[in-house]
Structures are given as C-alpha cells and as structure tokens.
Subunit: 380 residues, 2 copies
Amino acid sequence: MVDEVLSNSPLKFQVLHEDTGSRARLGSLKLTHFEVPTPVFMPVGTQATVKGVRVEDLHAMGYGLILSNTYHLYLRPGEDVIRLHNGLHEFMNWDRALLTDSGGYQVYSLGKLRKLTNKGVTFQSHIDGTRFEFTPEEALRFQEVLGSDIAMQLDVCPPSTAHKKDLERAVDLTTQWARRTLEARTRSDQAVFGILQGGLDRDLRARHAEVMRQLPFDGFAIGGLSVGEGPQQMWPMVDFTAPLMPREKPRYLMGVGMPLDIIHAVLAGVDMFDCVAPTRVARNGWLHTRRGIISIKKARFRMDNRPPDPECQCPVCQNYSRAYLRHIYMAGEIMASVLNSIHNLYFYARLMREIREAIRANATTELLDAYADSRSHLED
Amino acid sequence: MVDEVLSNSPLKFQVLHEDTGSRARLGSLKLTHFEVPTPVFMPVGTQATVKGVRVEDLHAMGYGLILSNTYHLYLRPGEDVIRLHNGLHEFMNWDRALLTDSGGYQVYSLGKLRKLTNKGVTFQSHIDGTRFEFTPEEALRFQEVLGSDIAMQLDVCPPSTAHKKDLERAVDLTTQWARRTLEARTRSDQAVFGILQGGLDRDLRARHAEVMRQLPFDGFAIGGLSVGEGPQQMWPMVDFTAPLMPREKPRYLMGVGMPLDIIHAVLAGVDMFDCVAPTRVARNGWLHTRRGIISIKKARFRMDNRPPDPECQCPVCQNYSRAYLRHIYMAGEIMASVLNSIHNLYFYARLMREIREAIRANATTELLDAYADSRSHLED
C-alpha cells in the first residue's frame, strides 16, 4: 500500500542515512524540476522574488528549492498574468524546484479581515480591500496554475497559544480540508503535502497526526508552530510531533527558523524548513555568524575593517568589511539589503551543508555546540 | 611643452581615430587602475556604491571607470574610515578605475546651506548640520586620500541660467582654485582635471577655456551644464566649448546625460560622461530602449510577456517579462530597482559601444537616427 502510493508520487524521497545519536536523517528529495539533498532550507520568495537576492545568486549558493506564497500571488499579479507565463517558474525565472504554501497562514494572519466557515475562508485583500473566498479546492487549483513542485493544502492555522476549542476546530477543519484537497488534485507532476495542526497541545497533535498520516499525501508539514510561542515551547513540540509522521515521507516544519531552531528540529527528524528571517533580518542590518549576530549599525563597527564573519567564504565576507557594510546601511543604500541578504542566505546554505555532513558522520550533537552562540549578539 | 606634460601625466590618452563626418573621436584612456576605450560613460556610485548594482555586474557589463562623490564620502564615512581601507578602491571593492568629483557641484546645490568666499566654501552637512570648510586644497587632499585615478578640481558651479555677474565670479574663482589645486598636488599616480565654467554665455566660455587650457591639467571638464537648462540650450553650448579644449587631452562633460545628449556631445568631440539618470530613473520604473522609455508601472504592461527591449541582450531582457518587472515594481520589491538598474546600465554600455563602433566606421550621424525616439515614451 505504502509502496503503491510512493511509486505514484510526483516526488521521490529517499532516506540515505539515519543518525546514530538522534532521529536526524540524511535524504534526497527528487521533485519535478530539481533534486535537493535533505535536510533542506527554502528561502522565501513571497511575491515571486526572494527579497534582494537574484536567481543567479541563489543558484551559486546551491539553493534548489524555494518557497513562494499562494495568497500574495493570487491577489497580485493574479491568475491571468501567471497563466500568460505558463506558471510561476517562467514568470520569476526560476527553473529549479518550487514549493507554494496554501495561503492558510496569511489568511489567518489577516485577523479581522477574514471570516472562517466550514466551506473555506473569506477575506479582504490587504492591497485594495477586495473581498475573496478561498476554499481548499481553490487554493489547490491556483497552486496547480502556479505549477509548483510541491503544493500545500489549505489549512487553518491559529496562534499556537489559542484556546483548546479553537485548536480543536482548526484540527478538524484542516482534516476535512485535507480530504477535499486530495479529491481536487488534477496534476500528476505536482506533489501535495498535508499540514498537521494542534498548537502546543500534545493530545491534539497526536490525534491529528494519527488521522492525517492515513491520507495519501506526498509529504507532511508541521504547521501552527513559530506563531507566537518561544523556542522553549516549540522545540519539545517538534520533538513530540515529528516521530508521529510517516518515516518514508518528507517532514516539513513550516516557517522555522533561526539556526538553532533548525538544528533542534533536524535532531527530531525534520527534513524541510522555510523562513523569511535570513532576508528580513538582513534588511534590518543583522548578519549571521556562528559566534553571534552582528547588528551592523552599531557604532563599534564604524572602524572595523574585518569581514563580517572571518570564517565565511561568501562573496560578501570575501570582499567587504564591517565598516563598509555599516556605511552603506547607514547611508540607506539598497546594496546594504542586497549584500546582507546574500551573506545570510549563504550562512543558511552552509548551516544546512554542515547539518548534512554531521548526520553522515553521526556527529549531530556537535552542531548544538557549534551554533550555541548563534542567537546572541556578537560582542567583539 | 605639451609632450613634456603628457609624458609626466598619470594618465595616457590616445586619440585613435577621428570621425570624418563630425568632431567625434575614438580613443583610449589608460589610468592607474584600468584602461578604458573612449567615448566612455561612468556610472555614478555617490556613496561608494552604484545604487542597486553589484561590482560583479559592472564588471560583466564592461564598465572600467566609475564616479564617486567627494562631498558625500567626506561627510560619511569620513576620512578615518577611508584611510583604514587604504583608499576608496579597497573600501568599495572596486579594482578598476575611479574618478572622484570635487564636491563643487554638491556644495553649490546645497543652496543656503553654503557660503562662498575667495578662500573656499563653508557649508553645513545635509546629514547632521555640522559646519565644514572646503577649500580647493582640502578637496584635492581628500581625493588623494580616496586614491581615485582622476581627481577633479574644486570649482564654482552656478546654475547655467544665473546672472552674468554670478557666472563671471564663478569663472574667476574657478580659475584661481584651479591654480591652487595644481599647486597642492602630491600624488604622481592620480590625474587631475580642470573644470570650465561660463554657463550659457559664449564669451565667458571662450575666455575661461582660453585661460584654463594653459594650465597643466591631465584633462578638462565642461562644468555648469545640465544644471537647469534644456537640451536645446545645452547642445549648442557643448558644440561651442568642446573645440576650445585641448585636442590631446580627454574632454569630460559633467553630469550628462540622456542618450541623445551623449550622442550630441560625442559629435562635438567630448570623450567622457557621467550621470545618475540610468540608475535613478530605473528606481522610478523607467527602462530605456532605443525606441523609447518604458514606464513599467503603466497598466498596459500588466499582461505583456515580452522582454522590456526585444533587441537587448542584457540578463534582464533575456530572463524577465514586462509583466514580471511591473509586478515586482508594483509590489515594492528591491529587485525592481536592481533589475531596472542593470538593464539601464547595460543599455548605456551598449550605447557607448555603438558610439565607438560608429566613430570607427565614420558613421556617427546614423546614431542620431538610431536613438531619435529614445527620449520619448514607448507607445506599443
């Protein structure tokens, strides 16, 4: 039965090695447009561009799978423009693999702009206030128009700290919508993932995972985390949920995260990640290093001619000083966002490479030490 | 005498061919860091970065000489930071040739923030209001710290439409400051250019050129144009002034311009140009084509899947549609500024290549036809 499903799947996922010291797994994820090693991090191109970073840079950094947002593209540029370009790949000039989220998270984060029913969700555009109805069928249909390698089901994503009743309703509706999503599939070259909800409630998490894992999705995601709770609450919940997901299918933790969040989730057995953080914090002048975050606007970097991260081989660290990056940041130059974003995405690419090497070498626990200070601010 | 001066010059300028149908000349300008063919266009990196465009992109487009601004760098990051990086080249990671302007234009454009005396100019920083005094000696000294291949003398640059009395004073002071600049020189690896003023007054232009051409500058610039007058006033004045400048030295028209302005000035015998326009209009959504300017925000490009310029070989036109560029512009994405700027600088690089080819082929008048519509808005 499982083999049957797998052989029909538009994706091919192989676990190549399991870590001896944790549940971390090294794998390979073959999608319609590209094959990527796992664990994998997906840069986010919300509006059909990874903010500040060119396609050529993403290629050079080795990224083979990026995420884009159904909700945003549905509103702008809209379906007719996407169709004119035969889908999102051609539109944004990205020939490798793409995952599109379902819009569930964005629709929920609109707060009072949306209204939830069993059928779906109605919401008002954040751009011009136009009213839209989004259903599981419509979310998948539009993702089929986008032509992403992986589509996500429309889910209901409350804050992780919501009341149990709201979390229960989210779980139940997400399950109903999961079945409707699978029934609506028409493309054989697009994988579809189901999403597990349940907030920080272990019973709900277990119950939802048990129901969802029976459904013939090509992979599963942990949703409803990184939406209000801190890492000390998130990490145990990932630890609890990941093993409840099918071993033979890719496991994706949505919207996560900082380097240490990713390492913790990898140790729990998660394979895929996405997060806007590396490019967003870059635009605010934060540069990642293993030894801590550099907030480039700080006065002490004015006369610092060292590279941001002396260990880093990225084109920014190879060619520019902290003083230069501070100067263009303070001067309000576009190039500050560009160079900081390239550095941070390079840092994440290296992090994922080191994670995969550590799994292969059964040395994953050393990762926690290596990145222990990565969340703090660099003090030298 | 002239040969003597030339052999000591930090630059080597050779006129390789003179057009039979105009005063246009094809040349080669060998500077301390790089050799460029002329006529040459210099992208502007006001604050030590060409806005939105990476050094690698400038290299790929073939740019070998860019301009940066003394005034801005003097205020921020300041001399200590530049010295820490051994000059501007290392600071901004640009290993080809650099020209720095003197700050004269910026100081003047500050309006009531500056006060002019025979000695120099006092002005208040546009950043924090701090009061500075700038003299010809200080302007050159700081450019020697910057280590540019070509330094410009501090000049007095009134609007071209100023009263004759103001224009006369600008001419006289600029001449005095020219002599002081030459006396202040200490670097043998940096060329220094004098600047011709005189506004739109032919008598003053002729008088100033006659005095200035006696001074042992490595090249001369036409200043005081493109500061308030239209092309119909500027073109004849360039036509009048260029032949009054030494034939054997490079001639630079400061702050110009649009493609047709450049072509007209080349026909008058000008060799060097700089302008913020290609990157500035790019950030406002304007894309150059020979057939006219595309204002990408216009609704009619929403469903237009053609490249911006079907004739163009740039990486933007090769990979993106007008609809995509409109989408990211409307969405306020950084990438809109980046891609539009690359396209426009590529367009200027091609323009200069075509100009040089036309001179070599004695076919320069055809350039005026080829670019006749380049200033209008594209209507298809």
